[in-house]
């Protein structure tokens, strides 16, 4: 009899543990773990996804304020040294989307955090130049950034393996050799 009781307790405990584990795993953009600060909302905008992810991942709009996105989108013909120009209609469509989800857009949790360390008078063009980014990566030595497997600090997915899905929490980080 007591044998069955122990078995029963074991089964219930295992199921509980497994479901807790399943629900605590990042599910691609839903606000869980890290208080949601490192999981970007799942965004669906085909032009943004297609145009911005040709050369790099489509960086989450909440990583820069509206003024930055406006500055960046008005200079696509010289985009950090490359011609990334697109037709005016697509450009306007993407900018509207970026502004709606920018770091300083209303109700943006992740953005509030990014803006905490920002100088509102100087909108940065590079996410890697924001004080927020520098602070988040202050434990990464220069030699790690210089690794061939990383290539560039713009290559989020080198270490943040789920960056394409907006997942930037510490658990999903694997720094390549």
């Amino acid at each position: 009899m007591s044998n069955y009781l122990y078995r029963g307790i074991g089964v219930v405990a295992t199921v509980t543990a497994l479901s807790l584990l399943a629900f605590s795993l990042p599910s691609g953009g839903e606000a869980r773990g890290d208080n949601g600060d490192h999981l970007m909302p799942r965004l669906d905008h085909p032009a943004w996804q297609q145009e911005c992810s040709s050369c790099h991942i489509a960086y989450p709009p909440s990583m820069l304020p509206q003024a930055s996105w406006r500055r960046l989108m008005s200079g696509l013909d010289n985009h950090f040294g490359d011609d990334a120009s697109i037709d005016p209609a697509t450009q306007a469509d993407i900018l509207k989307f970026l502004e709606t989800h920018a770091a300083d857009a209303a109700g943006n949790r992740m953005g509030r955090r990014a803006m905490k360390r920002a100088d509102p008078k100087m909108p940065p063009l590079r996410i890697t130049e924001t004080r927020w980014f520098v602070h988040e990566h202050d434990e990464i030595p220069q030699a790690t950034w210089a690794r061939k497997s990383v290539g560039s600090a713009a290559n989020c997915a080198a270490c943040h393996r789920d960056a394409e899905r907006g997942v930037f929490d510490d658990d999903s980080v694997r720094i390549p050799k």
Binding site: C55, H56, G81, D82, D83, A84, V150, S152, A154, N155
Partner: protein, 138 residues
Amino acid sequence: MSRRKFRAGLAALGMAAAGLAAAAESPSSLMAHYVQIAGVPVSALSAARGATFYRAEHPGRDGSKQSCATCHGASPTQTGKTRVGKAIEPLAPAANPQRFTDAAKVEKWFRRNCKDVLQRECTAQEKGDFIAWLSQAK
């Protein structure tokens, strides 16, 4: 059906339609298009000239040497790499059948990349030679 699923379904339909429209062109129809602009017969296209063009180095905006191969790799049947480190699918249709099937996409990338590498737009003859070489690359 939820609204979300309905929207996803619509998006899928849209993409399928875009895929059909994109399949309207082929490497040979694009070559025909470019020779027409250049005012030469198709026989005037040269795969050898296309290969030389692909590998020719030019001073880029920052003064460093740039060629098509800088990002697309030494072999067009292999995967290339953007400056940021993202993979570029092979350019040669033998390795990537999606290439040269969408005129708007082809024009967009010729415009951008020619300006990056050559500091000018490419001529119709150059574009035709380029496709002539890539479509026979194995």
